[in-house]
Amino acid sequence: MTRRIVRWIALVTALCALLLAGCSPTATEPAESPAQTDGQTGSEASSPAEDGAYTPDFSEKLTISSNVQNAEAVPGTALWDYFQEKFNVEMELIPMTFNERHEKARLWVSSGDMPDLMWMDLDESMFAEYANWVNQGMFQAYPAMAELEAKWPNIAANYNIESNVGDELMTINGAQYAHPCLRNNPEYDYMSGMSWMYRRDWAKALGLYQEGDIYTWDEWVALNKAFVEQDPGGNGAGKTIGMGTELFYFPNAFGIYQTSAEYGYGAFSPKDGEYVWTAARPETLEGLMIAKDLYDQGIIWPDNPLGQTPDDTYKAGLMGSVFNNFDVGRVHSMRKALKENFPDIDENEAGALAFVIGPDGTMWCKQSQCYWGAVVMSANIGEAKMTRWLDMLDWMLSEEGTYFRAYGIEGTDWEYDENGEVKCLWPESTLLPGTQQSPYPDNSGSWFNWYAAGISNEQAPNVTYPEQYVEDTNYKYEFLRDNGFMRTFDYESSYLSAENKNKSGNFTTEVSDKMIELLTTASAEELPTLWNEWIASMEPKVQPVLDELNSMIEEIPTESEPKVYTK
C-alpha cells in the first residue's frame, strides 16, 4: 500500500512539473503592466510647465486607494468628510499595522497589486528593494522640479528644505519616486530625540541631584544604583528598577553608545580611510563590558531583553531612568501618564530630561535619517489620479492645509484672530491646565500627517502640549546641539545597494542578538573571549560587504572627533 502511495506521489510530482510548464505563459500576465510604464514616466518628467497659472480641476470624482495605519479609525470623522468633499475624491483606505509595513509593501508590489498611493518606510532594510522596484518600473515618478514649482509650489518647497541631506540619494535615474513625509526636526539638524528621562524628584530625595541635570557617567551609575537599592519611591523591596530602554536600543544605550564614538554611523564606520565593521572595534567590546557590569549589578532592567516597553513601567512609577527617543510627543505621553497615575506629583520633576556624559567624556547626540516615511505612486495610477494626489498634497502642505492637519476645519476648529494669528478653538483640557483637547477621535489625523509631512512647532504649535514640556524638550535639543557631539548619519554606507549587502543586511540584528545573549547568559570573565570568537566567526560574511563598501563608495568619510564636555 505504502509503495503504491509513494508511486502515486511520484506521478503527481511529475504531473506538477507538467503543470509548471503549462502555467508559465499565463503567469506572466499580471506583471506586464507595470513594466510598460517606464516610457510614460519619462514623458511625464519632461513635459514642460504650462504657461499661465495652473488651476486644479476637481470635476471628475475619483477613487484613490492608499494604505494607512489605523484605517478603521479614519473614516467617518468630520475632517475626513470635509477633505474628500473638497477634492471630490473617495479615498479607499487599506489597513495595515506598523509591523507589517515592509511585508505588505513587498506582497503588493510583487503581486502587481499595490494601492494607487503607497506609504513606505524607506529605512536601510527597505531601500535596496525600493531602488530595485524603481528600476523595474513599478512606480510612477513625481513630476520634475520645474513642473512642481509651476503647478504645486508647496511640494517643491518641501523638497527644497535646507539640510535635507537624503534627497540626492533618493533621486534615481534623475527622477524622484517618493514624496518624503515625517521628517525629523530639521531645525536641529535632524537631531534624534534619543536621550534619558529620569526621576529628578527621587534624585533630590536621595541627595544625588546634579545641577542642570548634568551627570558624569559615574554619578549617573551611582544614582541608578541608589534608585534600586534605596527605593526612594517606596515601591517595596526589589520592585524599583534602575535603567530601562526600548528593546531597539538595548543594550547599546548602556555603555556601547557611550564608548564607541562611531556608533552613530550604524553598522559600518570609517577608520584610517576605509570602512570597518563597528561591532569589531575594540570600543564596542569595552562598552559591552560596561553594560555587563551594570547588568550584573542589577541596575539594568532584567526583563528588558524580553521585548517589553519600558514606558509603561516608567509611567507606573517603577523605574528610575529610561533611555528612549524623547521628542516632545513622548515627553508629553510620559508626563501626562505620570500625572494621571499619580495626581499629587509634579510630572515635570518625575519625568525630567537628563544630560549624561559618557565614560569617554562626551555628551553625544545622534542624527536621525530623513525619509523616514515616503509616499510612492503605483505605476498604474494614471494621469488623473496623480494630478489629484498632487493637488491634495500641495494643499495639505500649504498654510491652510497645515492648520487643517494640525487643528481641523477653519471656522470650527481654528480661526485667525484680530492680529492675524491662528487661534485653535479646541476645548480646554481638564487634566493639564493651559492645554487644549482634540475633539476628534484618536488617530483621526494620522492619514494627513502620514501622507503629507510632520508639523513642526513653528508651523502650528501642538496645543495639547503644556508649554513646559515643549520648553524642556527644546532646551534639550539646544543644549545637546551646543555642547554635545553629533554622531552624523552616514547615508552612503547605510543605503548602499550592493549584492552581498542586500543579501546579508547590515548585521545590526545579529550584533544586538549576540550582545543580549552574552549579556544575559555569559559570565563577565568569559564574555570577551566569546564575543571575540563570534566576531571572528562572522568575518567571512562581513568581509564581502566591507569590500563592497570600500570599493563602491568613492569618498569614505573621515573618523569623527568626539567633542569632550567638561562640567
Binding site: L19, T28, P30, A31, T509
Partner: protein, 317 residues
C-alpha cells in the same frame, strides 16, 4: 513485479476493462461525493502550485513568477551553507520530538481520565475550563508568562520571599525548551482532548457493564475497552503529527523566545522569519525551505506509516 502485472493485464484486456467500467459505475455516488472536495483542491491548492518553481528561481517583481530567471540550486545552496539553518533544524527536531513524547499523549490521558469521572457536572465544567487557554493567542500568553516567570514576576517573588535565589526562567538556555513544552501542554491539551473524548463516546457502554460484571478492574477496562476504542484514531493522529514534525510551533516560539535562548529555541520557521524580515526577503529562498520541509515531512510520514503497519497492523491510509 511490474512486468507480471502488465502480463496479467494483457491476458484479459477486455474483461478487465469491463470490470473497471462496472466498478466505476458502481462507485458513481462516491465520485459524486468527491466532486466538491476535489474542486476545492484543484482550484485552491493546485492552481497556485506553479509557484513551486520559485525554489529554483530568483524572483523579480516585474517579471512575475514565470518570467523570473532560473538559477539552479542556488537557493538551496545558500540556505544549506548557513550554520544557523542547521542549528534551527536541529532545534526543530528536538522540540518536535519532545512535543511528541510529552505533549502528544497528554490529551489522550485527559480524555481517558475524564471517561473515569462520574460526577457529570464537575466533568462538564472542567472540560469547558480546559478549553479556555486555546482562545488566548500566543502574544497574550507571552505577556502572561512574563508576568508569572519574569525577573520581577510572581514566581520569582515567591522564591525570593522563601529565601531563594531569583531564576531567570525566560532567558535560560536549560529551561527554555521545557517552557515551550509546558506552555503548549497547558494551552492545547484540553482542546485536543475533545477529539479523543468524542471517540470514547462511540464505545458501547454495554461493554463496560459486561466487563465490570466479569470482574475487570479499572485498569482492565481502560486497557481492553477504552484503549482499543480510540487506538485507531490515536494511530492516525500520531502519524499525522510525525508527518508535520518540521512544524514545531511557529507562533509559540516567535512570541516566547528572545536572543538569549536563540541557540536552543530557534526553529526553522522562526529562523526563516528572522532572515527574511530584517533583510530583503528572497521568495526563492523561502520556497526552497518550504520544499525542504515538505520533503522531510513526507518522508517521515511515510516511514511512520510503514512502521505502524508493521507493528500495529494499521496505519493512516
Amino acid at each position: 513485479m511490474a512486468q507480471a502485472r502488465v502480463a496479467r493485464f494483457q491476458l484479459t484486456p477486455a474483461r478487465r476493462g469491463k470490470r473497471l467500467l462496472k466498478n466505476i459505475w458502481d462507485s458513481r455516488y462516491m465520485y459524486l461525493l468527491l466532486v466538491p472536495g476535489l474542486l476545492f483542491f484543484a482550484f485552491f491548492r493546485y492552481v497556485p502550485m506553479y509557484g513551486i518553481q520559485l525554489a529554483w528561481k530568483e524572483f523579480a517583481a516585474n517579471l512575475g513568477v514565470a518570467g523570473s530567471p532560473w538559477i539552479g540550486w542556488e537557493n538551496f545552496r545558500f540556505i544549506f551553507a548557513e550554520a544557523d539553518f542547521w542549528n534551527s533544524l536541529r532545534n526543530t527536531l528536538i522540540i518536535a520530538g519532545m512535543q511528541l513524547i510529552f505533549v502528544f499523549p497528554f490529551p489522550i490521558i485527559l480524555a481517558i481520565l475524564f471517561n473515569e469521572v462520574r460526577q457529570k457536572k464537575t466533568k462538564r465544567v472542567m472540560q469547558i475550563i480546559l478549553t479556555f487557554p486555546h482562545f488566548l493567542s500566543w502574544v497574550i500568553l507571552s505577556s502572561i508568562l512574563t508576568n508569572l516567570l519574569g525577573n520581577s514576576g510572581v514566581v520569582n517573588n515567591i522564591i525570593v520571599a522563601m529565601g531563594g535565589e531569583k531564576v531567570n526562567f525566560l532567558m535560560n538556555k536549560g529551561i527554555f525548551r521545557w517552557l515551550l513544552i509546558f506552555s503548549l501542554l497547558w494551552k492545547e491539551s484540553g482542546w485536543n482532548a475533545i477529539l479523543y473524548m468524542a471517540t470514547i463516546t462511540a464505545i458501547d457502554p454495554a461493554l463496560y457493564e459486561a466487563a465490570t460484571i466479569d470482574g475487570a478492574n479499572r485498569w482492565h477496562r481502560i486497557r481492553y475497552i477504552t484503549w482499543p476504542g480510540i487506538s485507531t484514531i490515536v494511530t492516525a493522529t500520531f502519524i499525522l503529527r510525525i508527518g508535520s514534525i518540521m512544524d514545531a510551533g511557529y507562533m509559540q516560539v516567535l512570541n516566547l523566545y528572545n536572543p538569549a535562548v536563540y541557540e536552543v529555541g530557534d526553529i526553522l520557521d522562526t529562523y526563516i522569519y528572522r532572515i527574511t524580515f530584517e533583510k530583503a526577503p528572497d521568495y526563492g529562498v523561502s520556497t526552497a525551505v518550504g520544499m525542504f520541509k515538505g520533503v522531510v515531512n513526507a518522508v517521515l510520514m511515510l516511514s511512520a506509516e510503514v512502521v505502524s503497519r508493521k507493528f500495529n497492523g494499521e496505519g493512516l491510509f
